[in-house]
């Protein structure tokens, strides 16, 4: 239990996907201009991360490791993620149209979101069990959503700011990310 909590906290704040592992930067800078979008994106990513982690962890622990073909993980994970995203999109479309309208446009983007492949690879690299993988994926997703929301809040405020012309937009977003990462250093060693 303690171990799971450690994994979870580590993923949410200490080894945050975006701020310390630099994963999922495209949506972090691309979808953080409006808060509502950021929230939807965060939820969608968390969802896919969870499902992907459970399935890839099962594949890793029960197929790849016993048959000593761990080197195949990249090909297999990316295929699993790509098809999962398709299936999730299909299910959401059939069952919950409101959710689909909210998350729909973000789902295809997630296939190439390195945070999703990243978390599955981290899980394998750390030799996590299925349960541990689930917890770490949940933590990573929540951490990602958290900084995405913080970032979008800040960027909405930055829109009103009088920053130098050449700083506006992406450069100042990078600077914000830098300072945010600097602030999060305070959590170092918490686990």
């Amino acid at each position: 239990m303690n171990n799971l909590l450690t994994i979870f906290i580590a993923m949410v704040i200490v080894n945050n996907m975006v701020l310390s592992k630099f994963l999922g930067l495209c949506p972090f800078f691309g979808v953080s201009k409006k808060l509502s979008n950021a929230f939807s994106m965060g939820i969608a990513v968390t969802l896919v991360m969870l499902i992907a982690s459970v399935s890839t962890s099962a594949i890793y622990n029960y197929i790849l490791v016993p048959y000593k073909v761990e080197f195949m993980n990249i090909v297999i994970y990316i295929l699993v993620i790509a098809s999962l995203v398709q299936i999730v999109e299909l299910i959401i479309k059939r069952t919950n149209i409101i959710l689909y309208n909210a998350l729909g446009i973000y789902l295809p983007l997630i296939t190439t979101n390195c945070a999703v492949l990243g978390i599955t690879l981290i899980n394998s690299a750390e030799n996590y069990s299925i349960l541990e993988s689930t917890v770490s994926a949940l933590g990573a997703g929540i951490g990602f959503t958290l900084v995405l929301i913080i970032m979008s809040g800040i960027r909405e405020k930055l829109d009103l700011a009088d920053s130098p012309k050449s700083m506006r937009g992406l450069p100042v977003a990078f600077l914000t990310a830098a300072l945010l990462a600097l602030a999060f250093i305070g959590f170092n060693g918490m686990v």
């Binding site: 808060l35 929301i149 913080i150 809040g153 800040i154 909405e156 405020k157 930055l158 009103l160 700011a161 009088d162 920053s163 130098p164 700083m167 100042v172 600077l175 914000t176 830098a178 300072l179 945010l180 600097l182 602030a183 999060f184 250093i185 305070g186 959590f187 170092n188 060693g189 918490m190």
Partner: protein, 314 residues
């Protein structure tokens, strides 16, 4: 009355005259109390650090404003940033590092975002965080007040684990008056409180942030089974609560928002002090809550006059 002289302006046509620079200089005046403590306890090196920091801050702002072809207003905000930064640095800090930190504070944290009013993070704190990542060794080397130990030896700050004390009462006394290792301006709780009183008298700061911040830390330390009085007096909590967390630009604007902010910083400080590698959590917890400020401001609004009535009717 000549027609050419007649001016047009928006209502209201009278102004209280309590300008930004006035606010800033009152804060500077209030900061002079902890500054005096720093100079008294740490001597000349403190003066050099303070001067280096302030001059760099003001110069950097001046140069950037000129580069951007904007008007440079000596509104005192750069002075505050410089002074605050100096007050939260260790007294033995090499001057060129101080200069670098002050430059980072103003150039990257403040002016790159558009200058006064637009920065997201507290410049002085971010400058300190920058320095503590760059020079972890220098940032954790504490000179003990020479008046208490004539050779300027290095020692531990109260919050670091290797700090040892024998008598609790004299420890509290030292913490309160400032005769203890630590950053330049954070050691004397008494003089910080006097400075804070100045801010309250001129109604510069709202009581909510410091009260809820210190309250949360006290409560948290109690729950953690720590010495509450010690946790409150030691480290940068006092100066952080009254001078950093209350920074207008980087804290929420509404009363409820400020309460949330204060509690948030308090919880983070307790967490970082007790669970993370950092002996001190004030700087980072305020920075983290700074990042939440836009969100708090967005969701914690003031209920407009007559708002609830409308809801009942609807």
């Amino acid at each position: 009355m000549e027609k050419d002289n007649i001016l047009i302006s928006h209502a209201p046509h009278i102004w209280r005259g309590f300008s930004t620079s006035k606010v800033m200089y009152i804060v500077v005046a209030a900061l002079l109390f902890p500054t005096a403590a720093g100079i008294y306890f740490f001597g000349y090196s403190a003066i050099y650090i303070i001067l280096a920091s302030i001059i760099t801050a003001v110069l950097t702002e001046f140069v950037i404003k000129k580069l951007r072809k904007k008007k440079f207003i000596m509104d005192g905000s750069a002075v505050i940033t410089g002074l605050l930064l100096a007050l939260i640095l260790p007294p033995g800090m090499p001057l060129w590092m101080v200069v670098l930190g002050a430059f980072f504070s103003i150039a990257v944290v403040k002016e790159a975002f558009g200058g006064l009013g637009y920065n997201i993070f507290n410049p002085a704190l971010a400058g300190r965080a920058f320095l503590s990542v760059c020079f972890p060794k220098e940032m954790t080397t504490w000179v003990l007040p020479p008046y208490f130990n004539y050779d300027a030896v290095t020692g531990a700050t109260p919050l670091s684990e290797s700090f040892v004390y024998t008598d609790k009462l004299s420890l509290y006394k030292d913490l309160f008056f400032g005769n203890i290792g630590g950053s330049l301006g954070e050691t004397s709780a008494m003089l910080i409180l006097i400075g804070a009183a100045v801010l309250f008298i001129f109604r510069i700061i709202d009581w909510k942030i410091p009260a809820f911040y210190i309250g949360t830390v006290a409560l948290g330390s109690l729950l953690m089974g720590k010495d509450v009085l010690f946790q409150v007096l030691a480290g940068g909590l006092m100066i952080g609560a009254f001078f950093m967390a209350t920074d207008y630009v980087t804290s929420p604007v509404t009363g409820n928002g400020r309460i949330i902010f204060g509690v948030g910083v308090g919880v983070l400080t307790v967490l970082i002090r007790n669970f993370s590698n950092m002996p001190e959590g004030v700087c980072f917890s305020i920075l983290i809550m700074n990042a939440f400020t836009p969100l708090i401001d967005k969701y914690v609004k003031v209920k407009p006059f007559g708002f609830q009535k409308k809801k009942k009717n609807a």
